[in-house]
């Protein structure tokens, strides 16, 4: 697969307004239950049979699983298109999240598409070499309904001076 960019990019190379569709994931009942047994131990998330008689009328994904899958789609996307993850330049280390909100439950078989837009670049310099990129991230289901949105500040290495 060809790369979208000719070279690895520094903090300075990343423009506000850059937009990516990271990709989609179809959530399965098995992976939803496996996640919830460790991190969201309530029958709405862990027990497909019990969940039928509960609030949502069926199993739903734990909120953090819908968000964690955003991270997976970002890592996969950047490895292919921006060559950044393995060389540590686009470090990907998140430092903080703002305004995260879940809007609708995700059910088995739902296909969630994740988008990313750079909305701000801070003047802060962290440990002499990292800049901070703020992105707005959204996730939509197969009907186009938004299920999750948030902003995140992620470190990106500044160009050597």
């Amino acid at each position: 697969m060809s790369n979208l960019y000719l070279r690895n990019r520094w903090f300075e190379d990343l423009p506000v307004g850059e937009f990516h569709v990271f990709g989609s994931h179809t959530f399965s009942e098995l992976e939803m239950v496996a996640f919830a047994r460790r991190y969201a131990q309530a029958p709405e998330f862990t027990d497909p049979d019990a969940a039928r008689t509960l609030r949502w009328g069926g199993l739903v994904a734990a909120p953090w699983q819908v968000c964690a899958m955003w991270m997976r789609k970002m890592v996969d996307y950047m490895e292919v298109y921006a060559q950044g993850v393995n060389d540590g330049r686009r470090n990907g280390a998140g430092i903080s999240v703002q305004a995260m909100e879940w809007f609708e439950p995700v059910r088995p078989g739902h296909t969630i598409t994740y988008t990313y837009e750079i909305v701000d670049k801070s003047n802060k310099v962290i440990r002499d070499k990292w800049g901070v990129i703020r992105s707005r991230n959204e996730a939509f289901n197969q009907n186009g309904s938004k299920v999750l949105s948030f902003e995140i500040d992620i470190l990106a290495e500044r160009a050597p001076t």
């Binding site: 964690a68 540590g88 280390a93 903080s96 999240v97 909100e101 879940w102």
Partner: protein
């Protein structure tokens, strides 16, 4: 109030990273040592998910009955979480507003301090939980 403490094993950290956050410092000890974190560490999302489970247990024991996490107005990661490191949470109940994305629920704001060993601050989370109306 405080939650119970729990830790993440080497295997749990690797399995989570393989599924959700396959970056070298979450998968490989040598890469972790060379990284900004200084060691193999858990994905920040795994720490957030574990903290949410611990808070849910503690609130349930107090009769607050959280149904589901519906929002995180802010989350800051302060320190990495390493293998087998103890994680616990300090919990302060904030405002409660009527209505929620979960039908029949209200929105309870909860301020969460995630602690590592020796009460060191690993993360700070402001969370909104759906709670049963009237509960």
């Amino acid at each position: 109030m405080n939650s119970q403490a729990r830790s993440l094993s080497h295997q749990e950290i690797i399995e989570f990273a393989q599924a959700f956050d396959p970056q070298p410092y979450h998968l490989d000890s040598a890469a972790g040592d060379a990284s900004i974190f200084g060691g193999l560490c858990a994905s920040g999302w795994q720490v957030a998910a574990l903290a949410t489970q611990l808070v849910t247990e503690a609130l349930t024991a107090e009769g607050v009955c959280p149904v589901m996490l519906t929002g995180v107005p802010s989350l800051t990661w302060r320190k990495p979480t390493f293998v087998d490191q103890s994680i616990s949470t300090g919990i302060i109940l904030g405002d409660r507003k009527s209505g929620s994305m979960v039908p029949g629920c209200d929105s309870q704001t909860v301020t969460i301090s995630v602690f590592g060993p020796d009460e060191s601050l690993v993360a700070e989370i402001t969370a909104i939980f759906a709670v049963e109306s009237g509960a």
